[in-house]
């Protein structure tokens, strides 16, 4: 039982740390995304040729 208790406390602590830091990131860090190709790509990527070949 002591083993279970120690394991529970260790996992519980790391889980609590994860939850709190995730919450900090979600609520204290505004606008962490940047624009992607869709914002600047006129008609987006135009594939001229695509080939997949297996190596022997």
């Amino acid at each position: 039982m002591i083993i279970c208790l120690i394991c529970s406390i260790i996992i519980g602590f790391f889980l609590a740390l994860y939850v709190v830091v995730k919450r900090i990131k979600d609520t204290n860090d505004a606008g962490d995304s940047t624009a992607d190709i869709k914002e600047f790509g006129q008609g987006s990527l135009q594939m001229l040729a695509a080939e997949d070949s297996r190596l022997r």
Binding site: I3, C4, C7, S8, I9, F14, L17, Y18, G31, G41
Partner: protein
């Protein structure tokens, strides 16, 4: 650049809420068409010289060259003696503190000629809207210190930040090697991808004052809101000057185009351990235009540091890392540790009872349990560290650390 009210002679400023001009003294409202004289320029918003069509080869793409005379205009330049920022302000405005570092150490420096922007994106988000966006965000923040929440909304300033809008033609034929795993086999593949793209209006900020990483977070801007530049739009706002050299800006723009192109090409390949073996990129800047884009800046001082919170003046997107209260964080970690420990312990007890595992068997299982616990904690720690790193980058960009780097870079090492 001051526009006088025909009714009372007061100064007229641009009002983002109504997209019209308003007299601060008598409250008269004037339509933009009555204030701004019709432009004789035949160019329309978003025109792109040398714009490649989809059927053209790389050789047909006309590379941008600046052969026309650069138009300039006069600004009053104010200098912040604290952080070294230069702000361009039209003569109807009085600067009382620096919009970047919040210090009341701003002095009139000179009247200076600067390159006239080709386009301007007028503010769509009003001052009150920007303040509400910041207030609402701060209100939701669990760990934001209470003192931080009591900020003075009067210190918010609208700044037109200089940007270069790049149109870039990018073509590359790439060879990759990678591993494709199926249910019963692992096979090595080569992949060929020949693709091209015409990027339009990649925004690169031309102010050394603003970190590139911060300005990218302000994106996207809706380019359909761009207007041909008229100095009247500056009424009531600050404008920053372009102080980054063009070679650096060109490199940033082409580097960004290459990054987005490569990411998109890789997304089209479903393989692991993808390694690029050969590449032959053709990258041409087909056009670039100088434009002023709107940003609201709010500097909040907390615990000896200045935090600069920004709001995209067109979309209302908020950018900035807020400080955390260490006491609140410690309390929450302790609280959740107790809750999770009890729940996990109960779950352990139920499993042990259900499978009839006694202490002796549990001791034998220890060699499996310990690695399992270590792996679980390791995975949680890894995710936590990534989130913490991301938050810290935002906080550093917003706080004075980034500002100090700027001061050292611009004014020599003052520390």
């Amino acid at each position: 650049m001051t526009i006088k009210c025909p009714n009372c002679g007061g100064a007229i400023t641009y009002d983002p809420a109504s997209a019209d001009f308003m007299c601060d003294l008598c409250g008269s409202i004037f339509l933009a068409k009555d204030i701004i004289p019709p432009s004789d320029s035949s160019e329309k918003t978003g025109d792109m010289a040398g714009k490649p069509s989809s059927g053209q080869s790389d050789e047909d793409i006309i590379e941008y060259s600046e052969d026309t005379e650069i138009e300039t205009m006069d600004y009053n330049v104010y200098l912040c003696t604290s952080c070294g920022a230069e702000l361009l302000i039209n003569e109807s405005e009085t600067a009382t503190f620096c919009a970047y570092c919040g210090q009341p150490t701003i002095v009139f420096d000179r009247i200076s000629k600067h390159r006239k922007p080709k386009y301007i994106m007028p503010f769509s988000v009003s001052k009150n809207q920007a303040v509400s966006i910041i207030k609402n965000y701060i209100k939701k923040g669990d760990f934001i210190p209470d003192e931080f929440k009591k900020f003075n909304p009067d210190v918010i300033r609208g700044i037109y930040v200089p940007f270069w809008l790049y149109d870039i033609y990018y073509h590359d034929c790439q060879y990759f090697e990678g591993i494709v795993k199926t249910n019963d086999s692992t096979q090595h593949y080569t992949f060929l991808r020949d693709a091209k793209i015409n990027f339009k209006h990649i925004t690169i900020d031309a102010s050394k004052k603003l970190e590139n990483f911060s300005s990218r977070r302000l994106e996207p801007y809706n380019m359909s809101y761009l207007q041909p530049f008229e100095p009247h739009y500056l009424a009531g706002f600050y404008a920053d000057c372009s102080d980054e050299n063009m070679t650096t800006l060109d490199m940033l723009a082409t580097g960004r185009a290459a990054g987005m192109f490569n990411r998109k090409v890789k997304e089209s390949i479903h393989a692991e351990n993808l390694v690029i073996k050969n590449t032959s990129p053709v990258c041409k800047i087909t056009n670039k235009e100088y434009a002023l884009l709107p940003v609201w800046f709010m500097v909040i001082r907390h615990d000896g540091l200045n935090y600069t919170i920004m709001v995209n003046g067109q979309s209302g997107k908020l950018v900035g890392g807020m400080p955390i209260s260490k006491e609140k964080v410690k309390t929450k970690i302790a609280y959740w540790t107790v809750i999770f420990s009890i729940l996990i312990f109960l779950a352990f007890s139920i499993v042990l009872a259900a499978f009839g595992i006694d202490s002796e068997i549990l001791y034998e299982l220890l060699m499996y349990i310990i690695p399992l616990v270590i792996m679980t904690c390791g995975a949680l720690y890894d995710k936590t560290a990534k989130n913490w790193k991301s938050y810290n980058i935002s906080k550093q960009l917003s706080s004075e650390v980034g500002m100090d780097d700027y001061v050292s870079d611009r004014q020599g090492d003052l520390k």
